[in-house]
């Protein structure tokens, strides 16, 4: 069914120029402004909630992984496995495992996806702090918590932030697929557009989600720069 509709969409689009499609897209933006804003809002939630929870899970887990080998190996492996499952498959998998359709299963699937980049960067960021700095910190009488707070976290923070950025931008893209399991968001325009063979509707989902990804990337890039300690930049 999907393949058929895609074929007809492509056939239809091949008969039109892209500029015609764009004109129709802009008309649609005007006429369906409310729908667009609602979908955008849903989309932001589809990104913010999983990424937010992923941060809360991945940073402490990443820190623990640098302390205990027993955490490091299972945590990093599980997260990698989660990431290797194709995103559409992971979303679809929510249905047979009993989570059904709608926003909640979408959040959970995206969360599984969002954890790895943050976890990995937290781990490598902290593990990568120069061993001599840690020895100096310990030798001067810092406790483990003080070392984490005063030395390791400030130095690892730009790297952790880069993980958050990667994760967020990636989830903005993946969240488009959430529409397939009824998760809403900008992806719903695309799914409908494909079904109805409406290129303007496809663009109504595609262009704002692409713009959202680009702007988020720019802003988080700034944040990353901002959290980099001044001493590392001079």
């Amino acid at each position: 069914m999907l393949a058929q509709s895609l074929q007809s969409t492509i056939a239809l689009m091949a008969n039109r120029t892209f500029s015609e499609s764009l004109v129709r897209f802009f008309n649609l933006v005007n006429t369906r402004q409310d729908d667009l804003m609602r979908a955008l809002y849903e989309h932001v939630l589809l990104v913010a909630i999983p990424v937010g929870i992923a941060i809360l899970i991945a940073i402490p887990l990443g820190i623990l992984a640098t302390r205990y080998k027993a955490v490091e190996i299972p945590a990093l492996n599980l997260a990698s496995i989660g990431q290797t499952i194709p995103s559409l498959a992971l979303l679809a998998l929510m249905i047979p495992i009993g989570l059904g359709i709608g926003r909640r299963p979408a959040y959970i699937a995206l969360l599984i996806y969002a954890v790895l980049p943050i976890l990995r960067n937290t781990f490598t960021g902290i593990a990568g702090v120069d061993a001599s700095l840690k020895r100096a910190a310990r030798g001067m009488g810092m406790t483990d918590m003080q070392m984490l707070r005063k030395v390791e976290m400030p130095l690892a923070f730009p790297i952790i932030m880069a993980g958050i950025r990667t994760s967020t931008v990636m989830i903005i893209g993946t969240a488009v697929l959430a529409a397939y399991i009824g998760g809403g968001g900008l992806g719903s325009f695309i799914v409908t557009g494909l079904g109805l063979v409406r290129d303007d509707l496809i663009l109504l989902g595609a262009i704002p989600s692409a713009l959202l990804a680009i702007f988020t990337d720019l802003i988080l890039g700034r944040v990353e720069d901002w959290v980099t300690p001044r001493g590392l930049k001079v």
């Binding site: 700095l133 001067m140 009488g141 005063k150 030395v151 400030p154 001044r230 001493g231 590392l232």
Partner: protein
Amino acid sequence: MVVFEDVTKIYDDETVAVDGLNLTVERGEFMVFIGPSGCGKTTTLQMINRLKEPTSGRILVNGEDTRDMKAVDLRRNMGYVIQEIALFPHMTVGQNISVVPDLLGWSQEEKLERARELLALVDLDPDVYMDRYPRELSGGQQQRIGVLRALAVDPDVLLMDEPFGGLDPLTRDQLHDELKILQDKVQKTIIFVTHDMDEALKLADRVTLMRDGKLVQVDSPEEILRNPNDEFVADFIGSERRLISPLDVLVREVMLEDIPKLGSDASLDDALSLMQEKKTDYIAVADGDDFKGMLSAHRLQELRLDTGPESSIGDAELITVTVDSRETMMTAVHRLAETEEHVLAVMNRKGKLVGAISRGWLPDILAKELWPKEAAGFETEES
């Protein structure tokens, strides 16, 4: 003061890093640990602040067993400087110096004041350097800050693990001089690890030479140079370093330690027979601990002619020229020449008589220093 009692460290892979170490580092002493890599010197250092725990034995710092203290308290009261320098790159110079004061909860003003005071101590302008970041400094400047960071809370003991190993020779030389000046000002008990013999000889009050986790020799640099315990020490020092001038030898190393003594009421004849008996050309005149001066054989002969053999030595003009036991023979020889005396009394730093340098013995001393082996042969023939 740091005391090692039967300290042994065996790693998990059963390597014996330190083997039954017994050693006392005195308060205010600059002790250098030296030896080839893997000899256990760094392990020994890291056991003092418990970055490594001894497998057996104990370490006392100022009389207290380090195991009875909390590791973080122990470390905060002990400076630690390492080869990698390891200033925290995200902190300014001022913040780096204030790390331990910060851990101890000093106020912002106290921390600032101390950091400025310490910078001034090594002639770095606080207004210029306080807010700089480590990356903006040269390697030499960074390690100066590293040393200041270790001194921030004025600890009794300073641990330095090859602190100048990563610096170029010129900078290293400069920092050696500065460290010596600094040590004169702050008088810390310094335990310094290096594999560089020149560094050890230049800085140390005493040098501890280690091999395979054991002490091979613990002595002053002069003594190590002159009397290496065995072939290993001699090789480690290197033959070129041993060719030092006999006049650079310290008085205490070569002075005559056998000093016949008489009270001031003894007669000149008593003095003569004592000299003959002890085969010396001098005696010390002292009433109990009250040292009056030296009497040389040369002067004794003059006095016997002038005042007769029965007169008491207390009435004679005694030689009161002295030399400090820590001075070099160069100084002693000059003093003998200037004063035209025949014997010098050697005093230790507390002003107590500990030996003598006599004109008659100079050739022997110099010969022993210049040609130690031949002198040793000569000595056995004579005795």
